[in-house]
């Protein structure tokens, strides 16, 4: 969500005295406006002790259709030892996350509304309420990410970002009488106002580094014709800034701009590939056919957005509840959702395990990037809370307790990571949200169906 209060390119790329403003943008002709990562020049060493604390960011990566739990939960609590199969790709980062057990979304259950667990579980995931069963009259509640965005969103260019990879339809019946608005959105600005995810990496890129809005087709065509990078438009500002930076900052800036260029190149390559596959394809042309490439583009842009403090809040619907995607890259031609109703057939269960593991592998790439991005004397990951989770536990049985939940990052040196923490059964997922809100500087006593904060996560 674009922050209406945030000035676009209002802060000039100038160095105020000897300190560079945190919200400095590299501006260029046309539509470019590139935020900067945290540089030493923004907090001179002499004043390091008074340098502002790096902001805490939070993101949600939502996975649909539950998990095969025998490959998700280890047989122990406490400090991580051997990780179960689905988490194996995260082995290198096992000191950087907490696995949370027994968190429950009671509002995702049928209660008295009958079938439709997929629609309900994604609709209630961040809103914490039982959504209204309807295809036409949707009703949920303000999601907790948006409550935070309302409080702190004015500090960044975008109050929040909503991303996805699967389906952004907002109308129609996506699950037993539940509107697609429930299965396809995580963030809700109001009871009847979901914030649809952006699926096209090109659109995300242009929002992040352009004027805040996607380019017009004419502008895009003009830029493509000249084969120019968005970085070309800010060359003057870049040179000016580089001249005033120390070696360390120059290297950091160079790496940062290279990462933007890398994403942009991959988007351009995708567009070119897509045009070759079908010049008339009825699909946003920037969306890669390859799942892993799509995921990488989106997650790289999340890293950049966090790094440049363009936003502190991201929701990412990796694929939507009830997703029928066939993972042919894994040799699986059945749809994901039908596979999860495996009726305990070993062959089908194994296919779902492979899909779960594949998702985790993609996510591990994102964590690697977040961890390797330095911010002051910590990593960007250290200053974040990244939840990787699902709104259903067992996709075959449609269970809403012990929801698969990993939280990466230390929320700014707060969470004690590297362990599995199991709460009492039926502990509301909303308790975790209250704790996360606290870390984001938003203090509430109650959210959704919470009965308190989730305790025992901190270093104390």
């Amino acid at each position: 969500m674009m922050n209406p209060k945030a000035p676009v390119m209002s802060t000039p790329a100038t160095i105020k005295g000897s300190t560079l403003g945190r919200r400095t943008f590299l501006r260029g002709i046309g539509t470019a406006a590139i935020g900067l990562p945290f540089l030493d020049a923004m907090a001179p060493a002499l004043f390091a002790s008074t340098a502002p604390e790096a902001p805490v960011r939070m993101a949600f990566f939502y996975l649909p259709n539950g998990m095969i739990m025998d490959a998700w939960n280890p047989s122990y609590d406490g400090k991580f030892g051997e990780l179960p199969r689905t988490l194996k790709p995260l082995e290198a980062y096992k000191d950087d996350f907490i696995q949370l057990g027994n968190l429950t979304h009671n509002t995702g259950r049928a209660l008295l509304d009958g079938a439709g667990d997929h629609g309900r579980c994604s609709g209630s995931y961040l809103t914490g309420v039982q959504v209204k069963k309807s295809v036409v009259e949707i009703k949920a509640s303000v999601s907790f990410d948006q409550l935070v965005a309302n409080q702190i969103g004015s500090k960044t260019r975008f109050a929040s970002l909503e991303l996805g990879m699967d389906d952004a339809r907002q109308a129609g019946d996506c699950d037993s009488g539940y509107s697609c608005a429930y299965t396809n959105n995580l963030a809700w600005r109001g009871e009847t106002q979901p914030l649809p995810p952006t699926l096209d990496p090109r659109v995300v890129f242009e929002r992040l580094f352009g004027a805040g809005q996607p380019m017009t087709p004419q502008e895009r065509a003009r830029q493509a014709k000249n084969r120019r990078s968005i970085l070309d438009f800010v060359t003057e500002d870049t040179h000016k800034l580089e001249g005033s930076l120390g070696p360390s900052d120059r290297r950091k800036l160079d790496e940062y701009l290279s990462s933007i260029r890398d994403v942009e190149s991959r988007i351009q390559r995708t567009e070119s590939d897509n045009r070759q596959i079908d010049p008339h394809m009825d699909k946003p042309y920037g969306i890669p056919m390859d799942f892993a490439e799509h995921f990488k583009m989106m997650s790289d842009m999340i890293t950049i957005a966090f790094q440049a403090d363009l936003t502190r809040i991201v929701t990412f619907m990796v694929t939507r509840e009830g997703s029928l995607r066939a993972y042919r890259e894994l040799g699986i031609s059945d749809g994901h959702h039908p596979l999860t109703h495996h009726r305990n057939q070993a062959e089908l269960i194994e296919k779902v395990r492979k899909i779960n593991e594949y998702h985790t592998r993609q996510f591990a790439g994102f964590i690697e990037k977040m961890k390797s991005t330095k911010e002051g004397d910590r990593s960007l990951l250290d200053n974040s809370m990244i939840v990787y989770g699902a709104g259903l536990q067992d996709g075959n049985l449609h269970l809403h307790e012990d929801l698969p939940t990993l939280m990466f990052g230390r929320g700014g040196n707060y969470f004690k990571t590297g362990r599995r923490i199991v709460s009492r059964r039926e502990t509301p997922m909303c308790n975790l949200f209250l704790t996360m809100m606290d870390r984001m500087g938003v203090h509430m006593e109650h959210f959704g169906d919470s009965n308190g904060h989730l305790t025992g996560l901190d270093l104390g």
């Binding site: 049928a110 039982q130 039926e426």
Partner: protein, 343 residues
């Protein structure tokens, strides 16, 4: 949980107890037996003392009756109060786990190794109440009022109780008067709070009712009692057999699930109060929300028969979809026009 698309299910039963006496275990079995007859839908068991061994046993009982998780439902956790003293652990809760099958594996599996495998009673009450139709569940209290009083403090729960619950049946007190009773003495402030704030009618089954109705231990020798049954095994381990057990909790469970069966007479309406020693008193009041059960000697045999037939039964499989419809078809009354028998 409601039965999808099949109208209002039988009333939900919420059972809260300290499980200090064997009648509470029998009452759990009785509620499952009543569920098998379609008289209630057993929602949850909550416990008002922090005894993990007892919680483990109750979890095994729930798994025995409900079977493994499946078809969009999981065996609900046992609600366990985490404050106070765990108290004594009767052999009834331990010995059943020592029984082995011929292959050496335990007959019953204890899945509760830590408090994390139990749930907070208030949360469970809230969550499972939300799954009930309006005015379609009842509560049984057979122990200190600790958990139910705590539930009254949870934001919004009193209103939810008023909307969903029909009544509360308490196995406790003595009516019209009598000595202080252990359940009440254990937490007098909680009991007072319950009397003052509980938002539904309350029926009391006083000490005198359960004391006069004994579950016959000899009934465990009947052929219909399964060889492996956690309630029967607990009963045998509880005390040297043969013995009969007074049935305080069972009276409350039976009235709760079958209030119109005429098992008990009812006092007029009034108000129950409790003094500082835990003694109850009943004051008639036209608009009072309280009544107490009165033992009807003519019904004694019928009540004992219900105990024997329902407290220790085989699990009735949960029925969903086509299986449920087929079962319902079988249970339809015969058509009114029956063809004449062949001569």
């Amino acid at each position: 949980m409601p039965q999808f698309g099949r109208g209002k299910p039988a009333a939900g039963a919420f059972f809260d107890s300290d499980f200090r006496t064997i009648d509470n275990v029998l009452a759990v079995g009785l509620l499952h037996g009543l569920q098998g007859k379609g008289d209630c839908t057993f929602a949850i068991v909550t416990m008002s003392r922090p005894n993990l061994a007892v919680a483990g046993y109750l979890d095994a009982v729930e798994r025995y009756y409900r079977g493994p998780a499946g078809n969009f439902a999981q065996v609900p956790p046992i609600g366990l109060c985490t404050e106070g003293s765990p108290g004594e652990t009767s052999p009834a809760y331990v010995e059943p786990f020592q029984r082995k099958k011929p292959d050496g594996t335990p007959v019953y599996q204890n899945e509760v190794k830590s408090v994390n495998q139990t749930g907070d009673p208030t949360l469970l009450i809230r969550n499972y109440l939300q799954a009930q139709y309006d005015q379609n569940c009842f509560f049984i209290l057979s122990g200190p009022a600790t958990n139910l009083a705590a539930a009254l403090d949870f934001p919004g729960l009193k209103e939810l109780l008023a909307a969903k619950a029909k009544y509360l049946v308490i196995a406790g007190g003595a009516f019209p008067s009598g000595p202080a009773e252990a359940h009440i003495k254990a937490d007098i402030p909680a009991f007072k709070k319950l009397l003052a704030q509980w938002p539904t009618p309350i029926f009391f089954s006083g000490n005198e009712v359960g004391a006069a109705l004994e579950f016959p231990g000899a009934s465990l020798d009947r052929d219909t009692v399964p060889v492996d049954h956690p309630i029967a095994d607990a009963y045998r381990a509880n005390q040297t057999m043969p013995y009969n057990a007074q049935s305080w909790a069972m009276t409350a469970a039976l009235y709760g699930a079958r209030p119109k069966e005429g098992y008990f007479k009812l006092s007029g309406r009034g108000q129950v109060s409790v003094d500082g020693e835990g003694r109850t008193a009943f004051s008639p009041a036209e608009k009072g929300n309280h009544q107490y059960l009165i033992l009807d000697p003519a019904q004694k045999e019928k009540i004992i028969l219900a105990y024997v037939e329902l407290a220790i039964t085989k699990p009735v499989p949960r029925r969903f979809g086509k299986a449920a419809a087929a079962d319902d078809q079988e249970q339809q009354p015969p058509p009114k026009t029956v063809p004449p028998p062949k001569k």
